[in-house]
Amino acid sequence: MPEKGRISLGQAAIIASSFALGTGIFVLPAFEINWAREDAWLIQVLVTFPSLILVFIVDKLGRKFPGQTIIQYSETILGKYLGKVFGFAVTLFFFWTGSVILYELAAFLVSAVIPETPMMVFLIVSGLLIAYTVYNGLETIGRLHVWFIPITVFSLIFIVLLACKEMNLNYFQPFLANGIAPVIRGARTSNSYHGCMILAMAMLTPYINKPGKIRKSYIYAVIVCSLVYGINTVGCLAVFGPFEGGRVSMPTIELVKMINIADIIQRIEVLLILNWVGAVFTMSTAWFYFSVLGTAQLFNLKKYQFLVFPMILGYIGVAALNYRSYPVFVDYIDRIWAPYAAVHEFLLPAFLLLVAIIRRRGIKTDTKSQGV
């Protein structure tokens, strides 16, 4: 196994939730409000269910193939060649999405923090930092996430609370004026964000030191994620309304800028932006780690450390060259990335489980005895 480190169940759940939490905070409210208008708050209720189903699928796979990641058991299930193709697809998905996140981080810094500096500077500095973290292994990543993800979550809730003064609850009416279809269309991107989390679980399960109630903690993670997104969406919708909220590219940041309490708590956006930079950075680190680990497992390597530096160059390159501008990028996320991700997150594990059951691969598991 290329990874020697072990993490605790709580760390695994937090790493998985960081898979969804980092960038989603900035971009998701805009997508949701843009499509679903007044009913954007419904989306987070809807997307919880497919993710919960996915938790059961991936958990079942993890129990059938203990000690293996999704890359490894896809080979066990589908045979050497098709399995490798599947593993490659998943690894590519990790790599690609990770670089998308890196671009998002840099674009965000350029637009909100230091406008004059070229984006390449941010890409390279962040890339090197990510490489350094990943080089040090899973345990370090786990320790990093345990501190930064909770801070992000609490600061987000804090912001929404501070912005209460600006909220107008009339923006939530009328309920389902255009039917359910726009809500479902708006849920697509959010759904893909949620699904990432479970894919992370499929990668992390073999590295948990005391595998206890894995399924339960992931269900908690999914619900917490939905709650955080829901609070965020509700806050943005209540402050900006169904039309302006969809037009602003990063509504959460506009939300922070509006906070002014007694002229004392004001202009806190830079501090929060920095906090979120941390969250996005940890997120991108986790994605990059999984792409490196996936590559190592694809080729049955004993170590993955030597892959870090060459791969981070590709990572930076993909992030730098792919998108012409931020609006293009947003469009890409909504129209192309979301279905692309959904295929890997939902269809692939479901297909694997189906084949595993048909071909009778893996250990027979009794769900009842495991304790949910």
């Binding site: 605790s8 760390q11 962040s126 930092l129 370090t140 320790r143 501190w147 004001q266 941390g278």
Partner: protein, 540 residues
């Protein structure tokens, strides 16, 4: 050779509670460092021969004393060898010379047959501690440690008399580097035996074990590890012993030598072993299952494993009321961040993020910076370097001159520089705040690391703004979370977080709630106290 070692280790100990335990435990593995070949041999019956070996090995150094005497009516020749200054000459004169020469001058000994070791040891010498020894190498070692060797004609075994001089050491006093308000005022001194007894006085339990090694080919420094049997992890103890026995060096003059030779991350600025001058701190660490390394000749005792939070804790935290300790600890963590990040933050905000400041503050700041010739970064760099120079000068200067340094520093750096328009007053405030905050960090070695790391962080934030700052913070966090000290994660119990450990990180749980030892080091004997110790109202 093996036979000799066995013989040596089987030799009788005269007093069970001898002060020192050097000898058989550590001769295995130590090489003959004295050069000549015949030293490894054993004593012969010929006194002259034996004596000449010592003469040859020790040379004609003026501090090595060969005192010839003859015992009893038959005038059996004997010689005392010791080093003046190391051995206690008064005790030698009173207990050895007087009894060997004057008191039995008329006794009929009937030659050497009757003058056997038992007679000398039991009837003649009146010292408390005596041992027998027959290898030249061990005898030389004893002489160099300050013991006295008595060679007697026609005897193949020499007598080692432990009469070391207690002169030449300062008295036990208050440690200079770790001041406190409430708590014991004693600190370690340079003498290993005294330090050891100070720990023993704190923990009078047979569980307290000491194990001694000799390190240093030339210096032959006594190094002693100390741990509580049954509480300290056996693996940790053997790991410490293994790392210590790996050291092959000419001399150990301070525990810093050992610190650098055994620590886990030799390239990291962060210290991974803890040093302290206080016996109570060492005792507390031993109770947590750690291992202490005492080195002869220095008051600084090494404690391993050393984790990050320990450098931000003081023993007084455990003596004062836990309610105030919470506040004080938060203050200390805050000042840790101030020391590390405040100048960089100031530079970053002034250079990149002026919009963060409230308008009035921004206006008054820009007013004070009117006419300052340097950008904020250069200004900060100048002031920080100037302050570091002042601090270093204050440390090295003889005390009477110290005052003038502080006057010059305060006037020139503080006042004149501002009046001349070279530095803005805001910058002086920032630097002063940083300086004062840096003094609140209890662990001096961590303080050094932070002082140094401030500068790269300043450069990063001057070039990338607050983003640079957060990159630096992340890199430091990642670096620290990869470190380990003797198997314990450096950031434990912060990251990886464990619940029982949180009792002693940001807050210090009251003693009635501190039921467990730290998970990482004390897991062998996890419970520290009974669980129902909380003070309760008396029953009616």
């Amino acid at each position: 050779m093996i036979k000799i070692h066995k013989a040596v280790s089987r030799r009788k100990r005269q007093t069970p509670n001898r002060e020192s335990r050097q000898g058989s435990d550590n001769i295995q593995g130590t090489e003959n460092n004295l050069g000549t070949k015949d030293i490894s041999a054993r004593l012969s019956k010929d006194l002259e021969k034996n004596e000449s070996v010592f003469q040859q090995a020790l040379g004609n150094s003026p501090d090595v004393i060969f005192r010839y005497l003859s015992i009893g009516k038959q005038k059996v020749r004997a010689v005392l060898i010791f080093i003046s200054g190391l051995a206690d000459t008064a005790s030698i004169a009173e207990n050895i010379l007087k009894s060997l020469t004057y008191e039995i001058r008329c006794e009929d000994l009937n030659g050497a047959e009757q003058l056997n070791l038992a007679l000398i040891k039991e009837n003649i010498l009146s010292n408390a501690e005596i041992a027998e020894e027959n290898s030249f190498e061990q005898l030389l070692k004893h002489i160099l440690l300050g013991d006295t060797v008595l060679l007697i004609d026609s005897l193949e075994i020499a007598i080692v008399i432990f009469a070391r001089s207690s002169q030449g050491f300062r008295a036990v006093g208050e440690p200079v580097s770790e001041a406190l308000i409430r708590g014991p005022r004693e600190g370690f001194i340079e003498k290993l035996q005294i330090n050891r007894s100070m720990i023993r006085r704190k923990l009078r339990s047979p569980k307290l074990k000491f194990q001694e090694l000799t390190i240093g080919e030339i210096s032959q420094t006594q190094v002693c590890i100390s741990y509580l049997d049954g509480i300290a992890d056996k693996q940790l103890v053997s790991e410490v012993l293994e790392r210590l026995s790996r050291i092959k060096i000419d001399g150990i003059l301070e525990s810093g030598y050992i610190e650098e030779l055994i620590q886990d991350a030799p390239y990291s600025p962060f210290p991974t072993v803890r040093t302290t001058e206080r016996p109570d701190t060492v005792a507390a660490c031993l109770l947590e299952g750690k291992v202490a390394i005492l080195v002869d000749g220095t008051p600084y005792v090494i404690v391993v494993p050393g984790t990050f939070i320990e450098f931000l804790q003081v023993n007084e935290d455990y003596y004062q009321s836990y309610i105030f300790v919470l506040g004080i600890r938060i203050l200390r963590y805050l000042s840790f961040f101030i020391t590390l990040f405040l100048p960089s933050m100031y530079v970053a905000i002034l250079t990149f993020h002026q919009e963060m400041l409230p308008s009035t503050l921004a206006l008054s700041l820009s007013a004070t910076r009117q006419g300052i010739p340097f950008p904020a970064f250069v200004e900060a760099l100048i002031m920080e370097v100037a302050f570091e120079i002042l601090r270093e000068a204050g440390l090295r200067l003889p005390r009477p001159v110290g005052q003038s340094v502080s006057i010059v520093g305060a006037l020139v750096i503080g006042d004149a520089a501002v009046k001349a328009g070279l530095v803005s007053p805001a910058m002086v405030i920032i630097v002063a705040t940083t300086a004062i905050a840096s003094f609140t960090i209890p662990g001096f070695s961590l303080g050094l690391a932070i002082r140094l790391l401030r500068f790269p962080i300043m450069i990063l934030s001057a070039s990338l703004g607050l983003y640079g700052l957060i990159v630096a913070g992340f890199a430091l966090f990642v670096h620290m979370s990869t470190l380990r000290s003797f198997g314990v994660p450096y950031l434990a119990p912060i990251a990886p977080a464990n619940w029982p450990g949180q009792k002693d990180v940001f807050l210090r749980a009251p003693w009635w709630a501190m039921t467990t030892r730290p998970l990482d080091t004390g897991h062998q004997d996890f419970m520290r106290e009974k669980t129902d110790l909380k003070p309760q109202k008396p029953k009616e």
